[in-house]
Amino acid sequence: MANAGEAAKAAPWRDPGARAYVQIERVSKSFGDFKAVDDVSLKIYQGEIFCLLGASGCGKTTLLRMLGGFETPTSGRILIDGEDMSGVPPYERPVNMMFQSYALFPHMSVEQNVAFGLKQDGVAKGEIAERVGTMLDLVKLRGFEKRKPHQLSGGQRQRVALARSLVKRPKLLLLDEPLGALDKKLREHTQFELIGLQDKLGVTFLVVTHDQEEAMTLASRIGVMDHGEIVQAGTPAEIYEFPSSRFVADFVGSVNIFEGKLLDDEPEYVRIGSEELGGTIYVSHGISAAPEAVVWAAIRPEKIFMSTAAPHGAGSDNVVRGAVQDIAYLGDLSIYLVKLPTGKVVRVTQPNTSRHAEAITWEQQVYLSWDASSPVVVTR
């Protein structure tokens, strides 16, 4: 662990003294009776890549559009670099947006598209040429200056859109599903390019995506949205390993969720009895919940061990038997669906570490077990 100052610089959201670059204060947006964004407060710090993650219709794009100035909040306010953005039109905001459709101007060449914003601001000709050139170098589009958007591939268009939105050196760049239109290989490649670019330019990114994998790779922090609210905000690891609700646990990655009741509620441990599981779950940390309350234990598929023999030292906690119902071989790992006697199907993933492993097959009886530190207990 580095010293405290260093840590605060890397994770400014942990430092109570840090000044937020973008402040969203109790912002709501309604369309008629429909509340698209419901009382959202959020602080984003300089140099961050913040991802708003959620299913379509959860309000993430509306929130983004409010930052860009294309929608006006029904209530609440937004500050960027300390300045209240209420009533400031899009063309006067220190913000640029990369649209999901890229919205490249079809009648202009790559060069003209990138230069558009600078020209609009009355930047001198020589400087425009220089900045556009640097930008095109950065997104590796040298030699494509004279092409029209329809003569470019999807990946090239994405890079033109990125160059066009970055060339004005915005304080905040808004990206709406930036990689949504790219195929999987290109996507992975572009994700890392995007991070590299952001690192080089130091621009704060706010990314909207429905793809949790994209959010995990890109983000310094993720805000998971549902029904217009931010249900949890934190680093990718926090979101994944310490989800605060069933929704977050289920939305980010895959998870097995067992409903149960608290049998023992001690400061150092809890024991949950679950009818769904047909057994008990022992968790090696205390939780805060009302006694006898209904709770849910969430266990990630990769944190469950599967074996044909009973695991060593197995007590009555954290172990169940089941029959393999289905197997999906993905190369690097395999997904097993194991049916418990209770009828519940549990998802287990195992890395294929050996080429000639004695494979577990369909219908086979297996033991499932997990560490006492693996389950996450949530109360909602």
Binding site: G68, G69, F70, P89, P90, Y91, V95, N96, M97, F99, S101, A103, L104, F105, P106, H107, F116, G117, Q120, D121, H150, R164, S165, K168
Partner: protein, 304 residues
Amino acid sequence: MRLLAPLRRVGISGRGLVVTLPYLWLLLFFVVPFVIVLKISFSDVDLAIPPYKPLIDWVGKNSLAIRLNFNNYAFLFTDPLYVHAFLNSVKVAFISTVLCLIIGYPVAYGIARSTSTTRNILLLLVVLPFWTSLLLRVYAWIGLLKANGVINNVLMALGVIHEPLEMLYTPFAMYVGIVYSYLPFVILPLYANLEKMDWQLLEAAQDLGCRPWQAFYKITLPLSRNGILAGSMLVFIPAVGEFVIPALLGGPNALMIGRVLWDEFFSNRAWPVASAVAIVLLLLLVPFMMWYQSVQARESAGTR
């Protein structure tokens, strides 16, 4: 299939038939009349029925004489009346086109940006006038514009004016008539063009620092160029040869080429000169038609 089999044996396919029929139609009702008019334009006037001399004639027993008379064309360029009428027609058509664009563009824009239910109603309203005859609609304008017509009566009843405005049989009335009649031909192609427009481009322009009117000028207007050209041609080409509207609303001073054509044919019975006028008018419009065609081709190819 069985029916077509014998046809195919002699080299006629179903596809060929489908293409041939419209071409036959064009040949019969466009090319043949055109050739007849062209023929008449090179002949001499005669007091006969029909009122011109044949182009090809037997002279003596065994010789066929072809007599091409270029005087009709020469006459068009010597008498200032015709040159004046041509120029005036082009001027009227041009001004009408510009007026149609100024009125039609905002209408087309408004329709394209409206919700799909109101859009259908608005489009219906644009097309609705076609359900009555053009002649009736132009006559209706006489009722509106004349000295004791609707407009003058209303204005006088309101006390805005004290004696009727002279509107009918003026260039003003003619422009009103032409712009009114041709407006749908500007609105529809412009709407079809604007409807395809990606409105997010305007947000992108605003995001990059454009005020709304700048975004319109730099993005919407250039992208609707083909729609503007198509609409302009659809007004300009027929308006140059327009006869009915200037004759009914424009009064005696509205010297337009369509009117001259009518007079030559029916008042003077000078068919050869009238045919020459028609041919020159056609030649005048061919470049515009070709331009319109290329715009259309570009539009359907989808490359801008």
